[in-house]
């Protein structure tokens, strides 16, 4: 029973990952982006769990729980930690016109598909076929990092990038060792916390975290 649905489930999880990434580019509001990030964390955890069950590795199921707690719950909670009323009003005014950004997302997805199939070969396994989605997430993360003005929105791009790397790792090699994943997750959490504190400080001090404006601090 599980065997027959295995490709469908992998497809559903990777589809959710790709969809949330595309939606993050689409939506401007920070709150929506954070919610999407949480959803993406859940999808990533589900993906790891599915792979774990299929390959019969209980370790991976543990990792999936870890991912769920850190990426699905922890990070979004930290990011959204402010009073919801203030965060709701944060609307991103991106550098890139949103229509162009969305078209760029589709082109990046194609690019990652071509690159993966040309450089590594798609392989015969379901997971191998889904691997380009991880690369697409990395590229979309970069796109977000480049096109967003606010430090906090850029942070979301960074986290998307991290999720992408994790996806590639799980899909191609059945996962990084649990210790490494644990360490990386903690690192990311730490980075986010530090950046978050910084952003908060900067906001109270200079009234905004738009990176363009911060350039003036340099002088």
């Amino acid at each position: 029973m599980f065997e027959t649905f295995y490709p469908q489930l992998i497809g559903l999880c990777t589809g959710a990952l790709l969809l949330t990434s595309a939606l993050m580019v689409w939506r401007h509001s920070l709150l929506a982006s954070i919610r999407l990030l949480a959803l993406q964390g859940v999808a990533l955890a589900a993906l790891v769990a599915v792979i774990g069950i299929a390959e019969g590795e209980s370790e991976l199921v543990l990792v999936s729980l870890l991912i769920l707690s850190v990426k699905g719950i922890g990070l979004p909670w930290v990011l959204a930690h402010q009073s919801k009323a203030s965060i709701k009003q944060i609307q991103e005014s991106p550098r890139l016109n949103p229509t162009a950004a969305l078209l760029a997302v589709t082109l990046l997805t194609i690019l990652s598909y071509v690159v993966v199939s040309r450089v590594f070969g798609l392989g015969d396994t379901t997971t191998g076929h889904a691997a380009p989605i991880g690369l697409a997430m990395v590229l979309i993360g970069f796109l977000l990092l480049i096109s967003r003005r606010r430090a906090r929105s850029q942070l979301i791009g960074f986290l998307l990038l991290d999720n992408g790397i994790a996806t590639i790792a799980f899909l191609t090699s059945g996962g990084v060792p649990i210790l490494l994943e644990f360490a990386v997750s903690l690192d990311v959490l730490l980075v986010v916390l530090i950046l978050h504190v910084f952003a908060g400080r900067m906001r109270t001090k200079f009234g905004g975290t738009a990176v363009d404006q911060l350039r003036e601090l340099h002088d």
């Binding site: 490709p7 497809g11 689409w26 589709t106 076929h129």
Partner: protein, 316 residues
């Protein structure tokens, strides 16, 4: 035999949807009114409107041409053809014109063009404005429409919509696949834009600056207006029927029988009405977006449709 049953099913579909479409609009309006705390006009009001308009004396603008007479009929015929060709009650295709994706989209475009020309024919600023916006939206919707059905067609191996519905009926795991989910979301956005629902157009408005559909029908009246209105309702009903059959293909007739036909009729009616209620409830929470944010919405739906097609090559 297949041809005869196809004709019977087409006939049933047309008759059913001609009765169902005004009812659907009535239900949508009534649900909205109830939720907003108004009494509402009841679900039969569209029918009463149709009867009223048919007996009224039509008025036309001084310099309008034959387009005002022919355009509404063309829209109506295009919507009726949609009801004939789409797999709504049954999936038995017509010989030599199956419910092919491009044929259906083009048949729908006949109605789009007719409506836009009627809008221009009155010779007023409003008609032109509505027509221009309507065509802009239609032009930008088309890529999403074609690509989303392209994505749906890949598991079935054909672009015939009845075959796509049958594939989904016989192997339901296709329905929850990511390709299908992405494509359906994109298709739904495209259909909302195409039929002038929120958030692209506000069907309840008469405010000049916000309307698309209403602006074009401004100069039509009496029996001309009936066809414009009923044609648009039919289009909405038929497309909702298509979406509902793609989401939940159960009940659709694949082998012809009297009982099957009855089940098909009841199930499609229920599905369309349920979808209409959901649409109405959903619209409560939506505001019309600015006209120049519509392309963004459509680009988003295009991206989803495109990802669906690409993903279908990735996952399969």
């Amino acid at each position: 035999m297949a041809a005869v049953s196809a004709i019977i099913i087409a006939l049933v579909q047309v008759v059913l949807f001609v009765f169902l479409a005004p009812l659907l609009i009535g239900v949508i309006r009534q649900v909205r009114a109830t939720i907003e705390g108004r009494a509402g006009a009841g679900i039969w009001q569209p029918w009463r409107d149709v009867r009223k308009l048919l007996v009224k004396n039509p008025v036309r603008a001084a310099d309008s041409s034959w387009m005002l007479r022919v355009g509404p009929v063309a829209l109506m015929v295009s919507s009726l053809l949609l009801c004939v060709l789409l797999p709504l009650v049954g999936t038995i295709p017509f010989p030599s014109i199956p419910s092919d994706l491009f044929v259906i989209v083009s048949v729908m475009l006949i109605g789009v063009v007719a409506l836009a020309l009627v809008g221009l024919d009155g010779g007023t600023a409003f008609g032109g404005m509505g027509s221009s916006r309507h065509m802009t939206v239609a032009a930008l919707v088309e890529p999403t429409l074609l690509l989303s059905v392209y994505a749906l067609s890949i598991p079935a191996g054909t672009s015939t919509i009845s075959a796509i519905v049958e594939t989904r009926l016989f192997s339901p795991e296709v329905i929850i696949s990511p390709v299908s989910v992405l494509a359906l979301v994109a298709l739904s956005i495209a259909i909302m834009a195409e039929t002038g629902r929120l958030p692209v157009d506000n069907p309840g408005t008469h405010l000049e600056l916000t309307m698309l559909h209403e602006a074009m029908t401004l100069e039509a009246s009496g029996r001309d207006l009936v066809w414009l209105e009923v044609g648009s309702w039919l289009k909405l009903a038929a497309l909702l029927g298509l979406v509902s059959n793609l989401i939940a293909p159960w009940g659709v007739v694949t082998d012809f029988s009297a009982l099957g036909l009855l089940i098909g009729v009841v199930s499609i009616a229920v599905k369309v009405l349920v979808l209409g209620v959901l649409l109405s409830v959903g619209e409560i929470f939506l505001a019309k977006v600015r006209l120049f944010q519509v392309p963004e919405l459509l680009a988003g739906s295009f991206a989803l449709a495109f990802l669906a097609v690409t993903a279908s090559y990735l996952v399969a």
